[in-house]
Each structure stands twice: as C-alpha cells, then as structure tokens.
C-alpha cells in the first residue's frame, strides 16, 4: 500500500509538532479525570466504608458519627465534588487509622520504592536490549536458543519464589545479606536481583523480537549491500527503529514500577509504597487506598505521556502526523 500522497508544502513543522504533543497531553488529562472518578467509585463500591471500618458490631450511633466525621452522610454527588475540590488543593484526606495526611504517609514511602526501582528499571531495560539484540543477531543459532530458554525461565519463576530462594541461600544459609529492610547498601542486592531477573527476561524477549523484525527490513539489507559496517547498521539504523516498539512496553513498565513491586517489597519487608498498599488494604484504610490507586494511575499516565512524546522525537512520521 502506498502512503497517501504527502503534501509537499515545506512550511514550518513546529506547529504540527506542538499540535501532536498538545493532543497527547489533552488525552492524558482525560485519562487522569477518569482515574479520579474510578478511584472515588472503587472505594465506594467495596461496601459502606463505615461498616467496613468499624466492623459488624458497631452501634448505629458510632456508625452515624463516623459517617458525619468523614462526610459520608452527604449525597454521592456532593461527596465527589468535595473529593475533587480537595484533590485539586492537593488534599487526599487523612488516613482512617493514624489520622495523618494521606499525602504525607505516601510521600514518606516513595523514596524507598524509587531507590529500588530506578536501578531495577535501568538494569532491566539496558540488559534486556543488550541480550535481546545479541540473540537477534544470532537468530536461530544455539546461543539464541539458550538466551530464549533462559528468558522463559526468568519470567516463569514467580517473584515470591525467587525472593524466598535468595533469602534462604544468602541470609539463612550463608548469612551474607540482610533478609529485610533497606538499612544498608547490601540490603539492595537481593530485592534488585529478584526484580531484575524477571524483568530483564521480558525486555530480552521484546528486544529480540523487534530487532529480528527490523533486521529483516529492506533498508538494513540495502545498507549491508552498500558495505556499511555491521555495528553501524545495528547501532544507527536498527536500534532506533527497534526502540520504537520497545518504548511502548517501557512506558507501561516504568509507569507500573511505582506500585509494581508489591510482592517483592512484602517479602523483603521493604518500607516502600507496595508494602504500604498491602497494609492499607488489610486495615481497610480507604482514603489511603484511594490515594495509592491515584498515585499508581497517575504514574502510568505520566510514563505513557512521556512515551508518546518520545515517539514524536524518534519517529518523524508520528511527529508530522503521517500514518505509517
């Protein structure tokens, strides 16, 4: 299929670039609004918060007082309006238990999660691309098959299993590494290993698949037929194209990192956002759960918005609004 006749006018591409980015930003705003609504709806759909929090034996008076205190006696629309207004002021309400601000509670936990997740993301993506590319070049050969097998194993092993195996080996058995907390630099080794091993497997597979796809394209053959060095073809022609496909999953991946390590954080008693979510759910602390849902949703939207922007940077067709 030939592409529709592109127009030949050479007016400034700047305006279209902005219009592409603006359109993406507008869509992200819409998604955020939907997440806010969903977060609100979810916490109300899981039953009457008063009953849930106070338990079945609570007196009607206690329930009534609880409702009044948290504004739950008002009509739903009013509650939503209040929620949105407070939200716009950065107020996510207070934790039902500690009465501390939800924003504060969450903010406390974010550094621990990020200090774990930033190295994990960096390692998983860069190692994945490296190993995946190596496999793609050796497509079909023994080393490629070995890498494929390894990556299948890597993401088939559940995190909790791998984490426990590591704890048994290095903490219980060899007594080399601390099994919980984030007190020491050594504490980072096992959680990072647990997470990277699984994630690198995913990226290896994706990088391999998209590199194989790109290496089969005619422009690669063309550069090869012109005697361009293989490493230059790989680095400057194939990789930028393959990264378009990799960007898509990187967006989801990075976005989900903030709340992603729920299991691993729990195993290693890591004081991050993931383990906070587990305890908030256990204690039915619905403003806190609501706040965390919002955080997870927003980080995914933000990561995907960043990815959309990067598409535009890498791919001129996207930037210039041409369907490819």
């Amino acid at each position: 299929m030939k592409s529709p006749a592109p127009s030949r006018s050479r007016s400034s591409p700047a305006s279209s670039r902005y219009s592409y980015f603006l359109a993406k930003a507008a869509r992200a705003c819409g998604t955020v609004a939907a997440i806010v609504l969903l977060a609100f709806a979810l916490s109300h759909a899981s039953g009457d918060p008063a009953q849930v929090f106070l338990g079945g034996e609570a007196t009607p008076e206690a329930v009534h007082a609880f409702r009044e205190k948290w504004g739950l006696d008002k009509p739903l629309a009013v509650q939503l309006a209040r929620y949105v207004v407070l939200l716009s002021q950065g107020d996510l309400g207070k934790s039902l238990y500690t009465s501390r601000k939800v924003t504060e509670v969450i903010a406390e936990r974010i550094p621990a999660t990020l200090s774990l997740m930033i190295p994990v993301a960096f390692l998983a993506i860069s190692l994945g691309i490296l190993i995946g590319t190596a496999a793609a070049i050796r497509n079909g050969r023994l080393s490629d098959k070995a890498i494929l097998l390894g990556s299948t194993l890597g993401f088939s092993l559940p995190n909790f299993f791998l984490g426990i195996v590591l704890i048994f080996t290095f903490s219980v058995g060899l007594a080399l590494l601390p099994s919980s907390g984030n007190m020491y630099a050594r504490s980072f080794i096992m959680p990072i290993m647990t997470l990277v091993l699984a994630d690198v497997a995913v990226f290896t597979r994706f990088a391999r698949a998209s590199m194989i796809d790109i290496l089969g394209k005619y422009y690669i053959l063309s550069f090869r037929s012109l005697g361009v060095k293989e490493w230059r073809i790989l680095l400057f022609q194939a990789l930028p194209n393959a990264s378009i496909a990799l960007l898509t999953i990187s967006g989801f991946y990075i976005g989900s990192l903030v709340g992603g390590a729920i299991v691993t954080e729990t195993i290693f008693a890591w004081p991050g956002v993931g383990s906070l979510l587990i305890s908030a759910i256990r204690s039915r602390d619905f403003p806190l759960v609501q706040g965390l849902i919002l955080l997870f949703g927003l980080s995914i939207v933000a990561a995907n918005l960043a990815v959309d922007f990067l598409y535009g940077v890498i791919d001129p067709r996207v930037r210039k609004g041409v369907s490819s």
Partner: protein, 679 residues
C-alpha cells in the same frame, strides 16, 4: 555550476579498457552458480548452475517469473544471502576476486565501492526515521570521509535530477515519492563509484511515467561512466527498452540468453516465446496474447527432464527423459531439445480486431459529476481538501467492458469504491439501472448481489480459515440456499469453470498460488450471478503468464454471461486488450474517454500521449527524446489545488490559459472526448 565532487566521472577511455579483440573488459564472470536452502524434506534448489558474463558498459537483463531464482542469484553474487544458504560456483569480479568466496570483511570492501545493488521497493529501502541526508552520509562515512559531506550529498542528488536537492536533504523518506526515493537509492549505490550496479526490479513499484525516467537515468549512467548493469525484471518491455543482452531464467536455470533483440523477437526457447506472447501489447493494431498453461514450477519441485516440459506445447517424449544442455550458436545460448525456428515467430493477430466497442445495450450504470473529497492534513497539520475524484461523469452500457486507466493517486480506486456502493460520494450521483445509489430507496444488500468486485490482492480477499470450496459456497448460503449438496455441486461446477482442479477444493487459500487464489475469488464473485463486475487491478501483482490466464478467464466469462465489466488498471496493455471503451484519469478527473482503439490509435490529451509513449514495448526502441517524463514529474501529485488544469505543471504544451481555467471534456471524434483545449 560547480561540478559536484560526488559523481566524479570515470573517463570511458581509461576505465572501459578494451580487450585485444575490441571487446570491452569483463566486469563480472559468473560460473556454475548454485544456491540451495535447507528445508524440511530436502534442500530447495533456488539456483541450479547459471553462468554468464557481464562486460563494462553493458546492461544485462535477467528475466523470469517469480520464484525463478533471479533475485537469489543477485544476492548470491553480492554475498548477501543468509548463512544457511549453500552457494556453489564462482562470481569473479573484474580484478580476479571471487566474490562468493570472500569473507565478511573482504566482501565489504567490494560492496558499494565496486559493486552496488538497488532493490525493488525504494520506499522500504530507506530507513523511515532517518533523513535523506543521514542515509547518504552513512555512505561517505563508510569511505572514511568526514568533511563537506552535506554539499557533496546535495551535489549527488542534483546529479540524479532531484529538484531543490539541498533543501530536501533534511526531508524524510515518507516525504518523497517512489521515483525520488529510487533516485536516492541510486545516489547511495553510486556514491562509491562502483563499476557494477545490480538493479533488482528497480521500477516495478513505480508508475510507468516514473519508470521511464528511472530507466533513462540508468541508461545515462551507463553511457557517462561505463557502468555495467544487471537489471533483474519480470517486465519484458523494460528489457526490450534498455538491455543490451538478456538471460531468461526458469526454475533456477538460464534457459536462453543472447542479444536482446534476437532473444525477444526471434526466440529459440519455447518458454521465451510463451513469455513474449503473454504480454498484452499496445502497439498499432491488436495482437492476441496467449496464456502459458499451468503455474510456474515451484522451486522445491524436482523433475527428471526439462523443467518447462509440463507447460510446453512443443514437448515431446524425450523432453521428460533428460535435462537439455545449454547449446551455443553464435552469441546465443538456449537449453532446449527442440528449439524454435527463429524466423518462424510471428505473434498471431487478434481474432476480431478491436474489441467490440460502444453502447450497444442499454445504459446499466452511470456516474454524473461524481466527486469524493477527503480531508487530509499537510505537514503543518492544516486541514486541506484532497479531491480524490473530481466531478467525473461517464456511463457504462450493459454487456460492455469499460476500462479506467490511471497512475497511483489518480483516484481510480476511490472511483471504484463509489461505484461499489462502499463509499458515499461527496457530491454527484451514481445511477444503477436508473436508480440512484445511496438514495433513500437504495438497498445495499440487494445491490451487492448484482455487483461484485475483484481486488488486486486475492489472499487478502479470501478467508484464511475456510477451504476453497466453502468460500465459493458462501454466497449461496447468504442467498438462503439450504441444501449443502446442491451448494457444493454448484460451487464445484463454478470452480471447474474457473480452472481450479478438484484436488485443490479442500485446500486453504495460502496453499494455492497467486493465480489460483484469484481464480477462486473470481469463482466466488460469479456465484452471485452478478450483472456488473468491478475489477480493481486484478492482475497487477501477478506474473505475465498468470496474468494472461486470468485475463482470458475474465474475458470469456464476461462474454458468456453477458456481464458488464468495469476494469481498473494502470497497465494500458491489459486495458487495451480487454476493454471496448475506456477512460484515462489524472488527478481525480477524466482527461480522455472514448473507444479504447481510438484512444490508443489517436491519443489526444498530452497526458494520454505521455502514458502511451512511456510504456516500453518489445520490438521497437522508441526515440529516447520523446521518453521519460523528466525528473520534475515526481514533485507533482494528485489534488493539485490551483484553478487551472491539473496536468499543466507537467504539460509540454501548456499555455497561460491552462493555468487559469480547468478544461472540460469536449468531443473530438465519435464518442471520443478530451479535457484539453489544445488537443
């Protein structure tokens, strides 16, 4: 103008050294080249021992149908085949090096510097996310050059007639037309001053006027720098037009080779003759085109005797007994036990002269002032209106075969979609038997039973999960037939009529060849007993031999059933042989309409003339001056917004009036109308 350094010319005196006998030096000598690929159930022999010589300044055509091994041979010479391919024989470059035996490091020194290759679809040969400049720069960097690259790149593109080259360096491939992208590919291939250019179907994906200009480019490169060219193509017209010598490949072997005019006009091998006969011609008068029976033999099949024997009309008992050796006679070679008498060959005249033309029956379908406007966005994301079809009017009589000719972007497929009732026109009406389409009383389901369509890609039109027989039964089930036995019986009958062997009935579409798939599509369309059959490029993706089979089938069936045909194609030869009347479209408008014979004999619109003169024809090399649109053609596209004639920017006759007023169709002969005041 400063001489761009990029294309420093090789002086013919020094570079095209001549041998003792006055022959030009060998650029490449291929001997006993064999390529096989490992596969389940034994290796597939794609190339079965071919040998040829290529001299400096020579253009050698390699022709053959798909799967004949021509592209694989070229890749083998370039050492570009994947590791698993087993390559035997030798391809010795002019300096004595066997390219096939080169290691990866060594072959890289030859690629692009001594021998370059360009590929079929120029768009897919350019990295979509890199600028044109970064492509050419990569070639300079290969040669270790670092300074003044931009201006050199611009000079290089200018040499290949890309207008405003300096400005276009920062453009991306998708902003280039196919013809310009091919020029970029050629510029990259020639940046290292190679002696040999291998061009693998370089113009197959391009419109015929652009093809003419690219071929002209290749010819002038040969003339100016003594470039040796291997031109791989399936188009015998292209071979006739540009090649000095030709090798015909079938089933991995060269079956005939020699000087172009000899081989094409006085073939010795029956396959060559069959190929030549299956090309629909557009010359004066009409000659019949004959289909070669059967499909091209798949590469994985092995037979004991002559590979072509099964399809050969002259085959005798000994043909199946052993493989014919390549015989030499003078500068010609052929592999056949019973070669043709070279002087005997004359193409038969068409049985009844021109196709019956004109409105014999009542009007079946008509379009009046039909327009289709799409909103598109330009680079600045501004909305612009693209008039894909621009007030088009015509009528088709019952029983007639009506052709629509146009290049890509001319609006012919959009027009077809309107006629099919799939796309509602922006304005104007389509009347079918006097009743308007898209009106309140119009019933699409009812219309769809009377009107059937055949598209270019048969595989895309068939359900991949249904067997051949089921697909063809489907229309009957939709029409409410209950009895499976009756449906199957009728479907089998129709498949048989369309030339599908009963042994194929249970297969799925991908188990069939392209020609067989299209036959199934035709059989399915005919199950509805349509009154009107719209064919949109039904044979464009097929080899000439299969193309001829499908055209013959369509022709016969339409005549038998008294069906009305609307036949859309960019291939003028096909239209000429099939259609009594036709219309030529340019930029959404009909620029010429009338009896096909009269349009071809006496084309009046400058665009029609250009189209006809751009088609390379076997048997006569046209005058070069008249050919080739010139490079500016590529810069023009459909949807020309000005008030004047859309063809004006390309028109050699254009006067001021043409820019100001859009010409309307007016009669120049009986039933022959042209939209040009200068015609």
């Amino acid at each position: 103008m400063r001489m761009p350094e990029g294309l420093a010319l090789r002086s013919p005196e020094t570079e095209v050294s001549r041998g003792a006998d006055g022959e030009r030096a060998l650029a490449l000598s291929v001997r006993g080249l064999r390529v096989s690929f490992p596969a389940r159930g034994g290796a597939i022999n794609a190339v079965r021992g071919i040998s040829f010589d290529l001299r400096e300044g020579e253009i050698l055509g390699i022709v053959g149908e798909s799967g004949s091994g021509k592209s694989v041979s070229c890749k083998a010479i370039m050492n570009l085949l994947p590791r698993e391919a087993a390559v035997e024989g030798s391809a010795v470059y002019g300096d004595g090096t066997d390219l096939i035996r080169c290691g990866p490091r060594e072959i890289r020194r030859y690629r692009g510097r001594e021998i370059s290759m360009i590929f079929q679809d120029p768009m897919s040969c350019l990295n979509p996310i890199k600028t044109i400049y970064s492509h050419i720069r990569e070639i300079y960097l290969r040669d270790g050059e670092r300074i003044g690259l931009r201006s050199r790149a611009a000079g290089q593109l200018e040499q290949l007639h890309i207008p405003e080259a300096a400005k276009r360096l920062d453009a991306y491939p998708f902003q280039f037309s196919g013809g310009m992208a091919q020029r970029v590919q050629i510029a990259m291939a020639l940046a290292g001053n190679p002696r040999i250019l291998i061009a693998d179907e370089p113009t197959t994906a391009l419109d015929v006027t652009v093809q003419a200009s690219i071929l002209e480019e290749i010819r002038s490169l040969r003339d100016s720098r003594g470039l040796a060219v291997i031109l791989v193509t399936h188009d015998l017209g292209v071979v006739a037009d540009i090649c000095d010598s030709v090798a015909v490949m079938y089933h991995g072997s060269i079956v005939e080779s020699g000087p172009t005019a000899d081989v094409l006009e006085r073939p010795l091998h029956p396959y060559t003759r069959a190929l030549v006969s299956s090309v629909p011609v557009i010359g004066e008068g009409s000659v019949a085109f004959e289909a070669i029976e059967g499909d091209c033999m798949p590469a994985r099949r092995e037979v004991g005797g002559c590979d072509f024997a099964e399809r050969c009309r002259r085959a005798e008992a000994d043909c199946a007994a052993g493989k014919p050796r390549l015989h030499s006679s003078g500068d010609r070679r052929y592999a056949c036990f019973h070669p043709l008498d070279p002087e005997s060959y004359r193409r038969a005249a068409a049985p009844a002269g021109d196709r019956p033309a004109g409105i014999s029956g009542d009007e079946l379908v008509s379009a009046s002032a039909l327009s289709c406007v799409f909103e598109s966005r330009d680079e600045a994301a501004k909305r612009t209106a693209l008039r894909a079809v621009d007030s088009v009017s015509f009528a088709i009589a019952a029983g007639e075969a009506f052709g629509v000719i146009g290049e890509s972007g001319s609006g012919k497929s959009t027009l077809a979609k309107c006629m099919m009732g799939l796309l509602e026109p922006s304005s104007g009406t389509v009347l079918y038997r006097g009743r308007p389409l898209f009106g309140d009383a119009w019933d699409f389901g009812d219309y769809a039973r009377k009107v059937q369509y055949i598209f270019q890609d048969p595989l895309g039109a068939l359900d991949p999960l249904m067997s051949v027989l089921e697909q063809v039964m489907e229309p009957l089930a939709i029409r409410g037939l209950r009895s499976r036995a009756e449906m199957a019986g009728r479907a089998e009958l129709m498949l048989g009529r369309c030339g599908i062997d009963p042994s194929l009935f249970a297969r799925r579409p991908y188990g069939l060849s392209g020609g067989q798939q299209q036959r199934v599509v035709i059989a399915r369309a005919l199950m509805c007993e349509p009154e009107f059959l719209i064919c949109d490029e039904p044979v464009s993706a097929m080899d000439v031999s299969v193309q001829a089979q499908i055209l013959t089938l369509l022709q016969d069936i339409a005549a038998e059933a008294g069906m009305t045909l609307m036949f859309i194609s960019h291939n003028m030869g096909v239209v000429k042989n099939l259609c009594g009347r036709s219309a030529v479209m340019f930029a959404g408008r009909i620029v010429e309409i009338g009896e096909t014979g009269s349009i071809f004999r006496n084309p009046r619109h400058p665009y029609t003339r250009k189209l006809i003169s751009s088609i390379p024809v076997i048997g006569s090399r046209k005058e070069r001056e008249a050919r080739g649109e010139g490079p500016r053609d590529a810069a023009m596209s459909a949807g020309h917004a000005g008030p004047g004639c859309a063809y004006e920017p390309r028109c050699p006759l254009a006067v001021r009036e043409c820019r100001e007023r859009r010409p309307e169709l007016s009669a120049v002969g009986e039933g022959h109308e042209v939209a040009c005041p200068l015609a």
